[in-house]
Symmetry: C2
Subunit: 729 residues, 2 copies
């Protein structure tokens, strides 16, 4: 053994604040202009900043303590927030208020949900399903201002979610009393997951099978009072329970409802599309599918939300990675910032590019939805055939596009949050660093408003249809217009290695490969149909291929939306401010990284050679390294206040350890009496030292031996006595 | 408008119980034999069943209520469980007890953690770091039976996790008093995440920089008393706080610790490997890396745990999918079981195959670790050079293998839980269905005991080294032996389309592609070294390539382990019971599905043609369809009691809706007084109807007009007065 050569004491590294300041020293773009570019222009940015300031100063929007509130505390706070928000919903222009709620949704997803249940789902059901007179009636009852009523939305049942047509609850017309009888026939028909039902709703929009004169007419909507608004006691025939703890969004009180022969006036069935007369005649309007337009609003909003939550998570992860130091590499003076590690850049920067891409896509998606809404509003009984076809086409395209985007963007958001959380190492596991609850809140976005897997299959089904249309010579609009170039689009490829990274090559790559996977899904479908399968069964059998088609198509769609937005931006942005140039790099990273992620298809359809795929991978590495230099100014450009970020690891200043330490200490004040020392720990530590179980200690064998000898003795004695007796006889 | 053609009322589908019974009617294998095959043989299975019965009857292991306990309640229950478990740890053979804990870990991961902190980390640190006399001392103090002491493990700090060498806490030798002074120099040096520190530990194994005579000697371990075991009051110089809420595992009380000039006797430094004499001389033993062997136990256990949690999650998802019905396809009589949808099979069955593959791999990994341990125990000062090289080689291989397996298996486990949760639709979001807390508990497995990303890079670094060795002609053992076939292994390919699915083709595919990605990582590394980069920097620069190498290598490794286990099993299993035949299908599914998942590499290195990849995809579909038929008997073969599964959706009987409904109702009893109606809801609903803000209502303009006319009047009067005055003058 020999004395070890000692290491010198290290020179202290720059402080986190100093490190963070250095990251912002020379951004390659004008940060304010970038904020405008990513935030939809100066006006929208200023509105957002106004909203951020307002909610930061509103004590009900305190966010720092949310991780330690009980379920009831957080539900109570959720309802308290209605007070100020109702003011805005009544007074603000709809487009302004929509932006306000977009922000509120990032800060407090559970409140956004409770609010959306009343204004989006309940009021939305009335708006789209009520006749003019019915609508006036509910307005007068107070639905708009939450006066005397708060709504919930009774669609899903314990045993039925996605298949609305299969719901079991019944709404039976009683001609005698001119009423509907709403009834839950079995436990599995219990209305389930109903947000607001457990504690906060007075009325419910109930989806039930309309039964008139013994005939079932399918699912319709009935407004059913649940509670007396003055006392909140349940009305006769209403049984309600609390769904209790959930993975996330505990601020919303989901409940279950059973109806036992509950009677409502006939007028409480929403009758815009189907009418039941006093005599029990049932009339149904054509084009009922136009009402589905309303369902698309939620999906559209969720695309924007997915971009926003991704940006929020990335702000935390990138800022933390910029100041966290770990390991010295080679002869460096200090431990390295973890953002300097290529693998860490790989973990975060492609996701950053994807978040920006989703952000620009969301703007286009919103515009598409708004244009559809305008068209639907001007559509009426006097519209001619051309207008009808037009609006139906638009609806179909908007539906398919929003289905694919909702699914893949909410999945992307969830994955981004998880990867950001894991990139923070152990600290990502603390509730106070915010990413774990973001994950738990986001998860449900992938399930509700159309389960993601089902939506991808709908998008895939639509693509199979588009492929048929294209083969039949129909000119396809918008997102699927690349199929107009069939069949040549299927067989194009990268002209040469030198062309690999050109934007038009990347663009063609996505179009070619998307066309091929769509062709594959279509081909499988046709094959099964030719084999004699029914249409639905054939579609089921090619569901994996439909899924792949939707996945590749949507990734390429997002890339194109990003590119188109940049073309527009380049027309108004001064090139010297570096905004467009930087965004072009981000767009390029999104393009090449998502090609790498889907490498199998690009090789299979021979758009790229293996050598070109190496060029792609090298470019991902190079762009990560390039964007790493401005990663902090980029997340600064996402423009979230520290209050909205609500994570010590993501504070603007970079002073992460101090803020984190203070937050943990403040959230867990010293308990002067140990909660369970006397009851549990003291008896545990003070019990007698354990010894090995040892049956011998009981001296059982000695005992048995003793018993045996006693018995032997007794037998001997008995024998002797017998003998003596015999002898006597 | 015309009356709509009504639909007939549907015939009721078979009940969930009936549906589940039908799934078990004719399994293609002997379920009990399958249980033995998957569970490591009859003896292990019977032990597991004994443990399951014991904990099910232990009231402390009640699991049905865990989702509604507060943090302190769940921590208290965690500590109460020690009482019975200490009995077993002292009385049971180590191998039996290890199996017991493997099961307990699935039922209650937080207890497993608290228990492991004392017995695995704290006692483990003493066992591997103490001299013989020191070890006896701590045994006598009561460390084995938890008498008068409970330990925690003070490694990580607020600003340092993975880089143990960079820890800031100091242990300075004071020659005057023959003591060490343990000190926390700054907030960022605060010991952080220390499990057990917040409320339950009396002693801590503190990692600190050893400083003797002003010279830093690197990180060493000191046993530091924290609390008086009689009163639990903190000892002088100890500051402790609670880390509070975490993403999961709230049963363990993580805390932070600051030491302020805390003095411990010199003998409290663990001195097996480094000794500090009374006079302040420091001696260090060679081969200190042998102590790292102890670290591998945790990783090895986590591979088995990843397989187990995956199987538990899949039991829930598969049983639920078997009884859940949604949508009618074509002319079917009833709504379809969702497990009958090809896309649902695709979501679950490849993950089932992966879980089984990980299960068999874990058995082999454990055997490798145990053989290393035996070798390390027999290794001593008298071991010769050959023995030394041998044990170091073994250590290196076990380290690299366990690093890759720990990382990818814990990630696989996390992903499996999430996909199972999402596959349950909305109900997956309820806490009571169990998958959300499984996710939250599992997430940390990817970070602690070696952050997964760092471990993959270590595995990748080892592969780069193995490639160099192979080029130099060294014969490689075990998992990397395919590199002995360089260079021919790099360029083999599938001989023909007809050979695509042969097991030996799949096996060669994995070897070929793994060899290529390892070669690629090695080549990048060599390139950077040739360009003049230092070794560490060159390794960093090829980290993405190392990551890919580790990923592909490990997937192939798992496939081979599975195959080898089947060869062994085939020798002892009666072919007529169907066990091996079914497992071969599962192995085949794992093989082809993971090829499909990594398609890009198999195409890039031209092992398969695009057409052969289509054959692979078709085979994944076909095997999913095939295994779907016995999916329920397969998850039955995972052999978990309903108590361990702890999810209404995964009950053996299939009666999911009743059990789920009852669980939710029992967990959320009716509250007779609404917790916040009077305070929040009543004032909200009863306030005056809101009106649009309207400044005119204030009649400000009239007021202004009035004020103006008054002022005009006054001016007029003043003028008149002036005029009159003037006239007078």
């Amino acid at each position: 053994m020999s004395p070890r050569t000692p290491a010198p004491i290290e020179k202290a590294a720059p402080s986190p604040r100093e490190t963070m300041a250095a990251e912002r020293a020379s951004p390659p773009f004008d940060v304010r202009r970038m904020i405008y570019a990513m935030g939809g222009g100066q006006r929208n940015v200023e509105l957002k900043e106004k909203f951020m300031q307002e909610i930061e100063r509103d004590p009900l929007f305190k966010l720092s303590d949310i991780h330690d509130l009980t379920k009831n505390q957080i539900r109570e706070r959720t309802m308290a927030k209605f007070q100020s928000m109702v003011h805005y919903v009544v007074n603000e222009r709809l487009d302004v208020f929509t932006k306000r709620m977009e922000l509120v949704g990032i800060a407090d997803p559970a409140f956004w949900t409770r609010f959306g249940v009343h204004y989006g789902l309940f009021l939305g059901a009335i708006r789209s399903g009520a006749t003019a007179n019915q609508f006036s009636y509910w307005l007068e009852k107070g639905v708009l201002g939450l006066n005397g009523m708060a709504g919930c939305f009774g669609m899903t049942e314990l045993a039925h979610g996605s298949n609305v047509a299969g719901l079991e609850t019944t709404g039976t017309f009683d001609e005698g009393s001119d009423e509907f009888v709403i009834h839950t026939p079995s436990v599995s028909a219990t209305k389930w997951w109903i947000g607001g039902a457990a504690q906060t709703a007075t009325h419910c929009a109930v989806f039930a099978q309309l039964i008139v004169k013994g005939v079932v007419h399918g699912t319709h909507t009935f407004i059913v009072p649940l509670r007396d608004p003055k006392t909140f006691s349940l009305l006769p025939g209403i049984t309600i329970g609390d769904i209790g703890k959930k993975m996330g969004r505990d601020g919303i009180d989901n409940g279950w409802i059973q109806f036992t022969n509950v009677r409502v006036p006939r007028a409480y069935m929403l009758m815009k599309h189907t009418q039941v007369t006093r005599e029990g005649q049932v009339f149904k309007a054509p084009l009922a599918q136009l009402t589905y337009g309303a369902l698309l609003q939620g999906r559209t909003a969720m695309v924007a939300d997915a971009a926003n939550v991704s940006k929020k998570a990335l702000t935390i992860a990138v800022r933390y990675a910029a100041v966290r130091r770990q390991f010295k590499v080679g002869h460096k003076e200090f431990e390295s910032q973890i953002l300097d590690y290529p693998i860490h850049q790989r973990r975060l920067l492609p996701l950053l590019a994807q978040a920006v891409a989703m952000g620009f896509t969301a703007v286009q998606m919103t515009a598409m939805y708004e244009s559809l809404t305008a068209q639907l509003e001007s559509f009426g009984a006097d519209s001619d055939e051309v207008e009808t076809k037009d609006v139906l086409d638009k609806l179909k395209e908007t539906h398919a596009t929003s289905a694919g985007l909702k699914a893949f963007c909410t999945w992307n958001g969830l994955e981004t949050i998880e990867k950001c959380r894991a990139s923070c190492g152990g600290h990502g596991y603390s509730s106070y660093t915010g990413l774990s609850s973001m994950y738990n809140d986001q998860a449900v976005q992938c399930t509700w408003e159309g389960d993601n897997t089902i939506l991808t299959l709908q998008a895939g089904r639509s693509l199979v249809g588009s492929y048929s249309d294209a083969l039949a010579g129909t000119e396809l609009p918008g997102g699927t217009s690349y199929l107009n170039s069939l069949p040549s689009i299927l067989t194009i490829s990268c002209p040469s290695d030198a062309d690999t990274l050109k934007p038009e090559t990347i663009d063609n790559a996505w179009k070619c490969v998307a066309a091929n996977v769509v062709k594959n899904a279509h081909g499988q479908y046709e094959k099964f149909v030719k084999e004699g399968k029914g249409k639905e069964e054939a579609l089921e059998m090619c569901s994996q291929e439909r899924f792949v088609a939707a996945k590749v198509h949507t990734a390429g769609y997002i890339y194109r939306q990003f590119r188109e937005a940049l073309v527009e931006l380049a027309q108004k942005e001064d090139p010297s401010n570096g905004v467009v140039a930087t965004l072009e790099k981000i767009c390029a990273l999104y393009g090449v990284w998502s090609i790498e992620e889907n490498a199998g298809y690009f090789l299979k359809y021979k758009f790229f050679t293996p050598e070109q795929m190496d060029i792609i991978t090298a470019e991902v590495n190079a762009l990560c390294l390039e964007l790493r230099k401005c990663a902090v100014p980029l997340v600064d450009s996402f423009n979230f206040s520290d209050h909205i970020i609500n994570s010590p690891l993501g504070v603007y200043s970079g002073d992460v350890y101090k803020v984190y330490f203070d937050r943990v200490r403040e959230s867990n004040p010293h308990e002067s009496v140990h909660p369970y020392f006397d009851r549990i720990i003291k008896p545990l530590l003070e019990r007698e030292p354990l010894e090995l179980d040892d049956a011998e200690e009981m001296e059982l064998d000695e005992e048995i031996a003793e018993m045996k000898s006693e018995r032997d003795e007794a037998i001997k004695e008995a024998k002797a006595a017998k003998k003596a007796l015999k002898a006597k006889a």
